[in-house]
Each structure stands twice: as C-alpha cells, then as structure tokens.
C-alpha cells in the first residue's frame, strides 16, 4: 500500500482503476431493477384491485391476507425471506418433477420479490383510485353498450390515472430506495457496488456520498417525469381546489 494516494477525481474516474464506471453501471442496474419491479407490481396491483372490488369473498380474503401481511412485515425481512423461500420453493418444485435444481438469477429473484411487495401497495392505491371514479361515468359507459375491455380502456383507465398517479409516484420512489435492500442478499446494484468500492479503496465517505448523489439524481429526475405525467393525465381538470 505504498502507492501514492489517488485523488477523488481519479477514484471516481470512469476507467478501471477509478470506480465511476462501476458506480454508474450499478445505478443503471438499480433503475432497471426498480422499473421491472414497478411494472410487475402494477400487474399484481391491477389484478389485486379488481379482485378486491369484485366482491368475491374467498378472493377478497386471500387478497386481504396478501396486502395485510406485506404491509405489516419489515421490507428487509420480506426481501430476505422471499428471496430464500422463492428460490428454495422453485427448486423443490423442479425436484418433485424430477428436474435438476437451477441457480436462480439474482436479477430475476430481486425483481420478483420487489414486484411482489410493490403489488400489495399498488393494490391499495389502485383500489382507492377506482373507487374515486364517479359511478355515473362507468354507468354511462355501460349504458352506451361498451364491452368490459373497451370500458376499461376508454373510461376507467383514463379516469383512475389522475387519482392513482400521486400514490404511484410515491411507490416508485420507495421501490428505487427499497432496491438498495437487495444488496443485503448479495445482488450487485448501486448500494453493493458502493460498498465494494469503499472496501477496496478505504474511501468509504467519498463513495457513499457519490452513491447518495446518484440516488438523489434518480429521485429528482423521476419527480420531473411524474410532474409532467400528472399534468398530462389531468388535462382539462382544475389544478387547485
């Protein structure tokens, strides 16, 4: 360790002795994990919300169990627990069919777990948003003889978006931050890359500061996008009460 100490700029350089490139790759991975998990959560949430609103009792109870447990248990426990239970369960399933066990890809596991967790929150956001649509609008669509799918696409979806978007923005923010937790199960995204960079160079402070700034940049950029989206879906609505 007799080498001359590197300056901050050298440490953050994009080329290999510097860690800048690795950090940026980590940031891209973080965004990719978050976006995929968010999309999965959206699908889970949509079905969850429709199931809860359908009035079917067993389905409703099952969904209540899903949203209830997910929202009551700490994220870290969920992620660690589901990570092991998910990969373990899959392998047992494969074995029972006489197939060899597989090594589950870290990205897939991380995204599946985060998406499953997001789905519970998304269910509630979308359920509230659908309930907030004036009943007359949907009745009118029904009266015009629209098929359920057309009704959803033309009336329910555009009408629920303005109600759901603030909640969805919050969920996006929380998934970008929750994705840092998959570092704990060993998947290399921004948080874990930062820790490795710190451990290798002993420049913990510099690297964690850089990571914090990257996360902040992701948040601020997403804020802009969601503001723009909300303005778009609220075309023609009053913006103040």
């Amino acid at each position: 360790m007799a080498t001359t100490p590197m300056t901050a700029w050298q440490l953050l350089a994009l080329e290999p002795p510097g860690w800048g490139g690795a950090l940026l790759t980590g940031a891209v991975t973080t965004v990719a994990i978050s976006a995929t998990a968010f999309a999965i959560g959206l699908v889970f949430g949509l079905f969850g919300a429709m199931g809860k609103l359908s009035g079917n009792r067993p389905v409703g109870l099952l969904l209540k169990l899903y949203t209830g447990t997910i929202r009551a248990v700490p994220e870290l426990i969920l992620i660690v627990g589901l990570y092991y239970a998910g990969t373990d369960g899959l392998n047992r399933l494969l074995q029972s069919f006489g197939m060899p066990p597989v090594e589950v890809n870290g990205f897939v596991a991380a995204v599946a777990v985060l998406g499953f967790v997001q789905g519970a929150y998304m269910t509630e956001v979308l359920r509230g948003a659908i309930l907030a649509i004036p009943a007359g609008q949907i009745e009118a669509a029904r009266a015009f003889g629209m098929s359920p799918f057309l009704r959803f696409r033309r009336v329910t979806l555009p009408a629920l978006l303005p109600n759901a978007l603030p909640g969805m923005a919050n969920l996006w923010m929380s998934v970008t931050k929750d994705s840092a937790l998959v570092a704990v199960v060993g998947y290399q995204e921004l948080a874990l890359t930062t820790r490795l960079a710190g451990a290798n160079t002993k420049q913990y402070f510099l690297f964690f500061l850089a990571a914090a700034i990257l996360y902040l940049a992701i948040t601020l950029l997403s804020n802009l996008v969601f503001h723009w989206l909300e303005r778009r879906v609220r075309r023609g609505q009053r913006l103040t009460a």
Partner: protein
C-alpha cells in the same frame, strides 16, 4: 417446522427486541423534536432557513436509508479516528458502536419524513385560531406551544402513527452495521442452526405484535382528544 432453538435463544431474542424498541424510541423521539424545528422553518422561516429545511428533507427522502446508514457508519466512522484526541475521549466507546450510527441515521431520516407531515398539518390549522391567539396578546412562543403545534399534531396523529410503523419496519437495517437487534438475532439463529424460516417467522411475529401495539396506542391517544370540525 422446528422450534427447539427457542428454549436456547429466547434471552437473545429478548435482548434483540429491546434493541429494536430502543432504536425506535430514540429515533422517533429525537426525530420528532428535529421535525418540529424543520416544519416551522419550512412554514414560517425566512428564505434561507426555508430552503435549508427543504433541501434537508429532499436529500434525506431522496436517498435510501441504507446508504445514509452506511455513509455514517463506514464513511464518517472511518473519518472519526482522524480527529485528534477523540480516540481517548469518553465519547469513543459510544462512537465506536454501530448502535450510535444506526440511531443517528434513523433519527435524521425520520425527521425528514415527519417534517413534511407536520408542515402540512401546520398549514391546515385554521388562520382564525391563530389570529384569535394573537388578538389575546399571546407571544409568538405561547401561540406555538398552546395553539399552533398542538392543533397540528392532533390533525397529523393518524399519519404520525403510520410513520412510526414505517420507522419500526426500517429498524432491521441496523443489523448491517453490527447492531444485535431482533432481525440480527434471527440471522444468528440461522447461522447457528441452519434453520431459515422458523427464526424469520418468530421475529416477524414480534414485529407484527409491535405494529399492533403502536396502532393501538395511537388509537388510544386519538380517542382522548376527539377532533371537531
């Protein structure tokens, strides 16, 4: 399912539960005090204090708690030994512990979220009540203590209950900086006995019970001061 380990590990679990509750109480208590200052800075501060408070809340809400915790523990922690004399001072035994950094980062993080909640609540207090207080000749400090803050806290109480539960769910992160909290005990049991699900299940039960207790406690407090509009 195998729960034989419980007979051996229950004292550790109890210790872990204590650490978790301690982290929660410290971060919520100090965080709330900090949040009051921040919220007033946002609502009635000058341009400089206002933008400082806004910036604080943006930075702490915009970055993951895990990064904040690691920045403090590994980052600031690695800089601390360079401060002359600190190593031999009475503070060192505290500053060396992961618990200190966990409590500090949870407090700072909680304050940022709570400040936003309080900011909204402070703005929702009817102007007439504040004017009435002023007309009675209350000083600014009395006005804040007797009317503005209590009214705002009462309005925000349901949200605060939610925030406290969220904070409880954030505490397992402390295990990444060597704090022996509830989750860390589950982790240790897993290492010792190779049981994955049983310890997680027991610990989860603890968290759920704590959540129920917190919700009940807030419900009780809310019932003491019914809100009238």
């Amino acid at each position: 399912m195998d729960f034989d380990w419980l007979s051996k590990y229950w004292p550790l679990l109890l210790d872990g539960a204590f650490q978790t509750v301690a982290l929660l109480v410290i971060s919520v208590g100090f965080g709330f005090i900090l949040a009051i200052g921040l919220a007033f800075a946002m609502v009635s501060g000058g341009p400089v204090t206002r933008s400082l408070a806004r910036g604080y809340s943006t930075v702490f809400r915009g970055t993951p708690l895990l990064i904040q915790l690691w920045l403090l523990y590994y980052g600031v922690g690695s800089l601390l030994p360079m401060v002359p004399g600190l190593r031999h001072s009475f503070l060192w035994p505290i500053l060396r512990e992961g618990f200190f950094f966990a409590a500090l980062s949870f407090t700072l993080n909680y304050a940022a979220y709570e400040a936003e909640v309080l900011r909204g609540a402070l703005l929702s207090v009817p102007k007439g009540e504040l004017e009435a207080g002023r007309a009675l000749g209350m000083s600014r400090f009395t006005l804040v203590c007797r009317i503005w803050l209590p009214r705002a806290i009462r309005t925000a109480l349901p949200t605060i209950a939610g925030e406290v539960v969220l904070q409880l769910k954030a505490t397992p992160l402390a295990f990444t900086v060597t704090v022996m909290d509830l989750y860390a005990v589950a982790f240790k049991v897993r290492q010792d006995t190779l049981l994955v699900y049983e310890p997680l299940l027991v610990v989860t039960l603890f968290y759920v019970v704590l959540t129920v207790l917190i919700t009940r406690a807030f419900g009780f407090i809310e019932a003491q001061v019914p809100i009238r509009r």
